[in-house]
Subunit: 200 residues, 2 copies
Amino acid sequence: MTPETIGLLVHAQAGLGVLHRLTGVIAEHQGDILSVEILENSSHDARIYFEIALPSPVAELERDLRALAIVKSLEAVKSFQRIYGKRIIIIGGGAQVGQVAIGAISEADRHNIRGEHISVDTIPLVGEQSLADAVRAVARLPRAKALVLAGSLMGGEIEQAVREVRQSGLLVISLNMAGSVPDAADLVVTDPVRLKRRVF
Amino acid sequence: MTPETIGLLVHAQAGLGVLHRLTGVIAEHQGDILSVEILENSSHDARIYFEIALPSPVAELERDLRALAIVKSLEAVKSFQRIYGKRIIIIGGGAQVGQVAIGAISEADRHNIRGEHISVDTIPLVGEQSLADAVRAVARLPRAKALVLAGSLMGGEIEQAVREVRQSGLLVISLNMAGSVPDAADLVVTDPVRLKRRVF
């Protein structure tokens, strides 16, 4: 049986070790967990979302999860990958991020109309350390495929962060700007609305 | 000892049950897992990121995780919440999403300059079912605080999805448009760049 990718939303009682119990049952069914999100973790309720490549029948996994005393309910849903697809991340000064976003959203629109799924996610930030932290964290974001740095001056610690995330396989595009970040990027673009051909 | 929120990046050997083993150790240390991301899950490597409220010393948890044969390395990092903060999600037609994004990014910029962390995430999409799926999935996205629907006609299944996600506590704003979605939203705005005061 070829593994099927399923999305499961589990509503459970709150408490320590909930994730440990649930993943134990999934492992017993040879389920390979591709993605997990903790949606709610309050004093009384926990809601956890799993994407699982499952070689065994879904109904059996669902039955054994429901059998856990901590599980209140269970729902099969569509996966994030199917809905939001790959992510282009834009970070930098507000004005430049806005202009780059307009171009990227318009190009993503043309792809998505033909059935693709591309998201454009942004955060306007200033300050060398904040920007360096945000760049490094992109390597930990799920489904991130390219990072665009939009600003008028970036260097120092940000340049170092760019070199690090490129090593993890992320494509990094920089607007043409002052500072050493353009030297560290995979690609430098001049017109903020013109990056579409290289990113998509 | 008041729980401290820590970010941990774990590099482990690939295989079934990795998450189960790691979460077992975290539960032994009374760690409350607030967030988890599977960053890599290839045939030979797994990289998993945890955010944990930990009442016990971090060094002891790190020591016991490192003691697992499947763990290759471990790194303490800053949490997503501290870096990207809360998320405004914009969904709809490409042209409208772009215009709303410009306004939202500019306003997020003004907040972030003063030390806040607000992200603006978008996906241009068409089609009733695709849009309804995307709206429903926002309720499963981590750190999503508000959803903006930007288009010229939305109704039917999308309206139903809007009513569902509002029940989970999400703020839903709709551009003024044809169809029944504006009736279902928390708030309707007319000028796409003018939603800032109500969302931020």
